[in-house]
Structures are given as C-alpha cells and as structure tokens.
C-alpha cells in the first residue's frame, strides 16, 4: 500500500549532485531511473541477512497459511484437500462478520477521535503559544512506552467496581453508574484504552512533520496578514498531509487487528467479550481453543486481505486530495 506513496518520491529524493556524478561518469542509462552506476551483487551482502529472516518470518508463514487454508482436518487426524471450502464457510460465517462489523464501528469512531486529539495536541505544541513544550510532549508521549498489557490492566482495574475510579465515584455520590465493562459500553471502554496508548505516538508523527514545514512559508503568511486559523488550514495541514495519511493507515491496520485489549479484558469481563469479539481474537480462539487450524488460517487471510484493501483505499483517498489542491 505504501508502494505508490514511495514510488512517487525517488526522483525528488535523488539529489542533483547524484545526477551530476552519474551523468559525468556516463555509465547510467539516459532514462534516469537507474540511480547508481554500479550494478553487482555486493548489495546482497547487506540485504541478504534481512531477507533470509524476513522469508522465514513473513513469506513462509503466509504461504504456509494459504496452503493450510485449503485443507480440512478429518476425523481420522489427517488433512484432506477441500479447495476453497474454508473461504466459502468464512464468507457466510455470522461470527466472523459480526467481528468485522465491530472493528469497523470501532475504526469509524475511535480513529477520528484519536487522530483529532493528536492533531490538536501537535498544533498546540507547534503554535508557539504554549509554554513548557518539551514537558507536554514527553508526558503525552509516555503512555506509548507502557506495555499494552499493563495499560489494559490499569484501565481494567480503574473501570472495575472494586478499586477504581468508577467505584470511588459510586461510593462518593452514592450512585450506581453503569459499569464500563458492561456489554453496551465495552467497545467504548476499549476505544478509550487504545486512544490513551496511541494518542501521543500520533501526536509526535504530526509534530515532527510540522517542524519540517519551511519557515519562510510562515513568514510569507504573516506578511500577508494571515491569522492563526488561516495559517493552520492553508499552510500547516496541507504540509503534513503525508504524515496524516500514514498515521491513518497505521490506525486502520491497528483497528482491524485489535487483539490485546479485548483479550486481556476478557478475564475481568467474560460476559461482555465473546470468543469472536474481533477477527483476530476469533482466529486465535479457533486455533487454540478449537484446534481448527485450517479454518483459522482462512479467517486470518480473509481479515488480512480486507485490512490491506481498506488501507490501500485510505492511501488512494490521500493521493486524490493531493491532486485536487
């Protein structure tokens, strides 16, 4: 999905000096696509080790999962070839689609809120109207370093009725608030945890991009008498569109692959989180609780493909906006 994004870049990334050197040595083709004069196997010394592990960790498991997804375990303990039967089953599996719908809702609500907060914070840090910028930046970024498991447990305890925030409010006001761990609220509660974990990370992606905006743009805007909001909408936001697209893509992927939060909350809210709460949780439970490895492989592949398609659409939308402006 990032292919298009990156391929649009290389010509711009090559410095003029490089072109000059290549031109004078005269070994490069006129097309300009080939950036280096030397073309031999030396590069493999560097890329080889990565590709070796990469093959074992990325390529082989994918191929193996595809292979597995074409079989079905028989009662005798062997595997029999069933073609695309597992995929056909997934297409009409209500549990799988319920999980997909749930992460889609999550995506549509949580991602905009989180990225909106992150963008606001980044603009605030960059506005020159805030003091102690490093202090805010570090504190808001800190939750990113907290292990997901610990984050979920902290929030899980705080949500709980025994020793948390909700318990204290109930005790203090003598009320009975609806539990954040109840079935109706659990998705919201998970969204809050994910937002807490990643808002600082996204803020820093935006902030780094904002810092790269050339100073003279601001000076020109100031001379033109542009106000704060005008500067934000006409200069800052258009300049960091690339970062916004990347952050959105990462968040989309994260939403579709939601696992840690529901899986850990399950132990304290077993009634609210089903074994097929998200596609990943479903695949996990199919392979470990149910030993249905073949069907789990098919589910993992289908949800992976859907994730990639949606991420690619986000990428396309980002580029489309770019050509418009």
């Amino acid at each position: 999905m990032t292919v298009a994004h990156v391929h649009a870049q290389p010509p711009a990334g090559v410095s003029t000096e490089t072109y000059a050197t290549v031109a004078t040595t005269g070994t490069a083709s006129k097309g300009g696509r080939r950036r280096r004069a030397r073309r031999d196997w030396a590069g493999w010394w560097f890329v080889g080790p990565f590709m070796l592990i990469f093959g074992l960790v990325f390529v082989a498991p994918l191929l193996y999962a595809m292979y597995l997804s074409l079989f079905r375990e028989t009662l005798m303990g062997g595997n029999s070839f069933v073609g695309l039967e597992n995929y056909a089953k997934a297409m009409v599996d209500p549990k799988f689609w319920e999980a997909m719908l749930r992460v889609s809702i999550f995506l549509l609500v949580q991602v905009p809120i989180m990225l909106g907060l992150a963008l606001f914070a980044a603009l605030a840090l960059d506005s020159a109207r805030l003091r102690w910028v490093p202090f805010y930046r570090l504190s808001i970024f800190l939750p990113y370093a907290v292990p997901g498991v610990v984050a979920v447990m902290i929030w899980g305890y705080m949500y709980g009725s025994q020793f948390g925030l909700v318990a204290d409010i109930n005790r203090f006001f003598g009320v009975e608030l609806p539990s954040p761990l109840a079935e109706n609220f659990i998705l919201l509660s998970i969204g809050n945890i994910v937002t807490w974990e990643f808002v600082g990370y996204n803020m820093l992606i935006f902030f780094s991009a904002l810092k790269a905006v050339p100073q003279d743009l601001y000076e020109a805007a100031e001379i033109d008498g542009a106000g704060t909001f005008r500067t934000i909408f006409s200069i800052k936001l258009p300049s960091i569109r690339g970062a916004m697209v990347i952050a959105t893509i990462f968040s989309v992927i994260g939403s579709f692959q939601l696992f840690n939060e529901p899986s850990i909350l399950q132990t304290i809210a077993p009634n609210s989180i089903t074994t097929y709460f998200t596609p990943n949780l479903y695949a996990f439970n199919l392979s470990f609780a149910g030993s249905q490895f073949n069907y789990a492989a098919a589910i993992a592949i289908v949800s992976g493909v859907i994730t990639m398609v949606v991420a690619y659409l986000v990428q396309l939308a980002g580029e489309k906006n770019e050509t418009k402006s």
């Binding site: 990156v6 990334g13 090559v14 000096e17 490089t18 050197t21 950036r35 280096r36 031999d40 196997w41 590069g43 493999w44 010394w45 560097f46 890329v47 080790p49 592990i53 990469f54 960790v57 990325f58 498991p61 999962a65 907060l117 914070a121 605030a124 506005s127 020159a128 109207r129 805030l130 003091r131 102690w132 805010y136 504190s139 808001i140 800190l142 939750p143 370093a145 907290v146 292990p147 997901g148 498991v149 610990v150 447990m153 902290i154 020793f163 925030l165 318990a167 204290d168 807490w196 780094s208 991009a209 810092k211 050339p214 100073q215 690339g242 994260g254 850990i264 132990t267 996990f284 392979s287």
Partner: protein, 315 residues
Amino acid sequence: MSAVDTAARSGRAPSRLASGKVARTETKRAKTVTPRHKRASVTLGILMTLMLLYCLVPLWWLVVNSTKTMDSLYNSFAFWFSGEFALFQNIVDTFTYKDGIFLRWLGNTLVYVVVGAGGATLLATLAGYGLAKYNFPGRKWVFAIILGAMAIPASALAVPQFLLFSGLGLTNTPWSVIIPSMVSAFGLYLVWVYAREAIPDELLEAARLDGAGEIRIFFVIALRQLAPALITVLMFTVVATWNNYFLPLIMLSDAQWYPLPVGLAQWAAQSSAIGGQAVPNLVITGSLLTVIPISAAFLYLQRYWQSGLTAGSVK
C-alpha cells in the same frame, strides 16, 4: 531530508528551547527574525493540561496503588496513598511469589529485547543501507516485497507464524519469540529513507578508491552517518519487543519462557479462574516494575527521534 534536519536543528530547535524563558529574552527576540513566539495562550494551556492529566492519571494510579497493602487496595480512595506504605513489601512479594518466577520473566524479557530488538536494528540498518546505496539484481523485487509487508501487521501474521513454527518444532522455545522480533520492515524503511541522503555517494566512491572493502566501508564510514536513524529504529524495536504480548502468548506454553507482559496477564487472569488466588497487589507492583525500565529507556532514546523519524513521516 538533510534540509529537514537542518531546519529542525538550526531553525526551530533553539526557539523551542527558548520557549521556557520567554519573558527574559523578550527584548532580544523582538529584534531577531523569530516572529513565531507569541504570548502564551491560557485556553491552550488549560486544554493541553487536561490532555496531560488524561495521559498521566493512569500512571499515577499505578504508582499510588503499588504502595498499598491488599487491604487498603480494596478499601481506600484509589487516587491517593492510604494506610501502610507497602511498596517495598510488595516488591519483595512480587520477586518471591511462586519461587521467584518474576525474576525469570524479567531475564527472559531482557534476552528477547537484546537479541530480538538488537538483531532487528542491525538487520534493518544493513538492509536499508544496502537498498539505498547499491544497485543489485533483484533490488526492485526486494522493494516491492518489503513495502507490501509493511501493510501486514505483526498481529495478523502471528497465527500463521505459530502454525509454521509449530510445524518446524520451534514453538515453546525462546527462538519462536526472538526470530519474528528480528524483522522490522518499518525500521528498514526508516533507514533506507535516511541513508539515501545522509550518506553522499562521493564519500563511498572515495573510500573505494582508497581500496576499502564494502563491509569495511559500512562499519567505518556509513554506520556513523546512520546513527540517528539507527537509534530511532532501536527505540521502536526495543519498545515493541519489551511490550510484545500476542506473539509470545501463542508461541509459548511453558511459563518459564514467558516475558513479563504474558506473565503479568497470567497473574491477572488467575483471580478469575476457579480456585485461583487473586494477587492484584502483585499484578500492580509487577506492572510498575515492568513500566519503569522501558519508560526510562524510552525517555532516554526519544531525544534522537527528532532527526530520525521526521524523515520517515514526511517522505
């Protein structure tokens, strides 16, 4: 990106540092060309402080509650200290519970981080440099495959990885956690973007004319130029490996190989199991002990993010 770097270092960074001393340097600044410092906005300060509280309050809760005894955990206000100061007792209990398994988990986590994240950083740096500075047969394919892989999240691969590693008989060994941790496609991307411009081809050509071998050129010349990108990659892989939960959860069945997050989740789940002993004070203290080293490492390494990641996010 070198332009970006220069902007970040010379243009804005000093003015950011100065923001804390606005009043003192006011007159000076009026004459210089830094028009971007305006009066601090109170509204902005309040909104950002709210956000700061949102981010820090759960960590505050963790610190406060790791100082409580089991009894005051249940019977006191959750956001302030209460009763006996039991932090040290809790730490001792955490390390001695179940024959000191927590220490074992800490050791496992350290090994996974050093070998996994260290290996990931080394491999990504080598490969990113190779892609940026060499033209070799199959280069285009390597690119396409790696960029495609960046779209596949680690968690989506975990189940297929388990299936394969289980077929190879590697599950329930440290290798099943370490080997997948050694690949960081995003890290490679960062190094590649950085290396393209941070290392001038002329420098490499000059070294070659002097008769230096390719490997030597990398370690003696390129590595130094790549340091900011390398440290950024290191930061991300260290955080990812220290915090990894899904992968070790499915790969490991024997508690003696668990890293901290999986172990803590098991302690937390224990209370809801039938006949299990609830140990929330140990879970909370153990969580604090897990958070402290990674936060320290993270706060130390994040200074280098600036120059390193700016590149990755802008391009």
